[in-house]
């Protein structure tokens, strides 16, 4: 059984439906923080904030534990290579997202460093 590209989009369009509100909230927060910070001269490479990096890393690491639970499963059932690749990719996504919010936020709260 193979899926066409249109078929994959059709499936994804149904798959994201229950999460649309959540995705929109996350995107709104991300865009708002980034936008406000950039309007106040925030530049990703110019600003340094270790705590934001540490919290993002912790969020990513903890995701390895709570992401399987969120799917009614447990870390012990993450066994195959595909399982681990998927989980690591998702955890990296969580870490990146947290960093993309916290880094400009720290600039807004604590000023340029």
């Amino acid at each position: 059984m193979s899926f066409s590209l249109a078929g994959i989009f059709a499936v994804l369009s149904h798959a994201i439906q229950p999460f649309v509100a959540l995705i929109l909230i996350i995107l709104a927060v991300l865009i708002a923080v980034q936008l406000v910070a950039r309007l106040r001269s925030y530049r990703t490479k110019a600003h340094h904030c270790k705590p934001a990096m540490i919290v993002a890393l912790l969020a990513g690491l903890s995701a390895v534990w709570w992401l399987p639970m969120l799917t009614h499963s447990q870390l012990g059932f993450v066994t195959s290579i595909v399982d681990w690749l998927a989980l690591i990719a998702a955890a990296l996504g969580v870490a990146l997202l947290v960093w993309l919010v916290l880094h400009p936020l720290s600039y807004l709260v604590r000023g340029p460093r």
Partner: protein, 444 residues
């Protein structure tokens, strides 16, 4: 009794249909090439049932045929995502997650007769509805699903589900919820005898009785009270599963988990008050067992009104029980204007929504070919799939077909059908339902 030997009901109709076919007709050879082209026809197409198969066909045919009169006969307003019922009965999903209105998936331009088909006169190409009205067709798609034959188990009724330690995930969404409560009650007792059954007939989602056994075991283990529960599995079949590798795997796993297997013994009677179940072997020997919880899976067949019609198989393995279709073209073996899809057809395996996904483009292509009086070249390979839940949180994505001794047919080369994984569970929990809805819309 061949349809071909009989005079057509309305002479000239067939010719009229043929003349109505437009020039946009597609070459039917490669299946993938037929989707884009529409053909014009004045054919009256009747689809019986708007479950997984009926809705998929309504969407595909309405897109493919212009000028056709497409009528869907379906009594229910609501569409059930039945593959979600095992998750409801296992306490993983809430019931509402499996329900949507039928109207959401019925394409515009298709007539919906909200009623029940009560009879099929295949010689006259006529459907009689429960209210005695009739519908005539040029092409009939039988997509009624199957019937649960509780009456073949003495003392059993779907009304008993949820009471006296009786569960049945198949009966309905409501019964899946009541099964969950019956399991909760049994687990709260802190121990006792659990019996899981599978009948001697073909059933839809042959993995569901096994999944219910594993998810219940998973819940028992989570309470750390395994030693206080006895689990037995009675099956009317000689094996556990039709795919040979999975069959061996399951036997081994059941033995490892201390679930006692009883083969060739099917449930024939139940005494709900006394909590006793009677099992019968092919030689007629019976055994009566006490239970605290029993998961009943009734024998299944095509619905009675299909069984009473000329369309039922008249010889072979499916005689008197299932629709008589060619298992590859899905055309009726004796009435060429009739096609079957989904649970109702006589096929060695294939009573899954996943099979419908593979069958729908074949039926679509072959109906178009039939209308064009061309050979029916599209073939179904018996593809079926079972996301076999082995624990709450992990599963195996088992995909196979009836050709080549039930050979594995994996959709994703990176998911091993022989491996239990979290990814297969996530697919079952989050992605198969969206794939199902896209299938209903005829988009996959």
């Amino acid at each position: 009794m061949s349809r071909l030997q009989l005079p057509p009901p309305s002479p000239g109709r067939r010719q009229l249909l043929k003349l109505g076919l437009g020039a946009g007709a597609a070459s039917l050879l490669p299946l993938s090439s037929v989707f884009a082209n529409t053909i014009s026809t004045r054919a009256r197409i009747v689809i019986l049932g708007s479950g997984a198969a009926g809705l998929s066909m309504a969407n595909r045919l309405s897109r493919r045929l212009s000028g056709a009169t497409i009528t869907v006969v379906e009594p229910s307003d609501l569409h059930n995502y039945q593959p979600g019922w095992t998750l409801v009965a296992s306490g993983v999903w809430e019931a509402e997650r499996t329900l949507k209105p039928n109207a959401q998936f019925l394409p515009t331009g298709v007539d919906w007769v909200k009623g029940q088909a009560a009879g099929i006169n295949a010689d006259l190409r006529r459907i009689t509805l429960a209210d005695s009205s009739t519908l005539e067709y040029d092409v009939l798609v039988v997509a009624t699903g199957l019937q649960l034959n509780y009456q073949l188990i003495d003392g059993m009724s779907p009304k008993l589900v949820g009471r006296n330690g009786i569960g049945c995930v198949y009966a309905s969404l409501d019964a899946a919820g009541r099964t969950r409560k019956a399991i909760d009650t049994w687990l709260a007792q802190g121990g006792g005898q659990g019996i899981f059954t599978s009948p001697q007939t073909a059933i839809k989602c042959a993995g569901a009785p096994i999944k219910m056994t594993f998810t219940t075991l998973s819940r028992i283990k989570a309470e750390s009270t395994r030693e206080r529960f006895d689990l037995d599995y009675f099956t009317g079949g000689g094996g556990m599963f039709s795919q040979p590798w999975i069959n061996d795997f399951l036997k081994q796993r059941f033995d490892q988990e201390n679930i006692t297997r009883h083969h060739l013994q099917h449930l024939t009677a139940i005494d709900a008050g006394a909590k006793k179940a009677e099992f019968t072997s092919p030689n007629g020997d019976t055994e009566v067992r006490d239970y605290d919880f029993i998961h009943v899976v009734p024998p299944m067949s095509a619905p009675d009104f299909v069984k009473d019609s000329d369309l039922i198989a008249q010889e072979g393995a499916f005689k008197g029980e299932w629709l008589d279709t060619d298992i590859h073209t899905l055309q009726h073996n004796r009435y060429p204007e009739v096609f079957g899809i989904g649970d109702v057809i006589g096929a060695p395996i294939n009573k899954t929504a996943a099979s419908v996904k593979a069958q729908a483009p074949v039926v679509e292509a072959n109906i178009v070919a039939y209308l064009q009086e061309k050979p029916l070249n599209a073939r179904h390979n018996g593809y079926t799939s079972c996301p076999l839940i082995t624990d709450i949180g992990k599963a195996m994505l088992v995909e196979f077909g009836y050709d080549n001794n039930m050979e594995f047919l994996p959709s994703f080369s990176f998911i091993d059908p022989k491996e239990e994984s979290w990814s297969a569970w996530v697919l079952k929990d989050y992605l198969l339902q969206p794939a199902y809805y896209a299938m209903l819309e005829g988009r996959v």
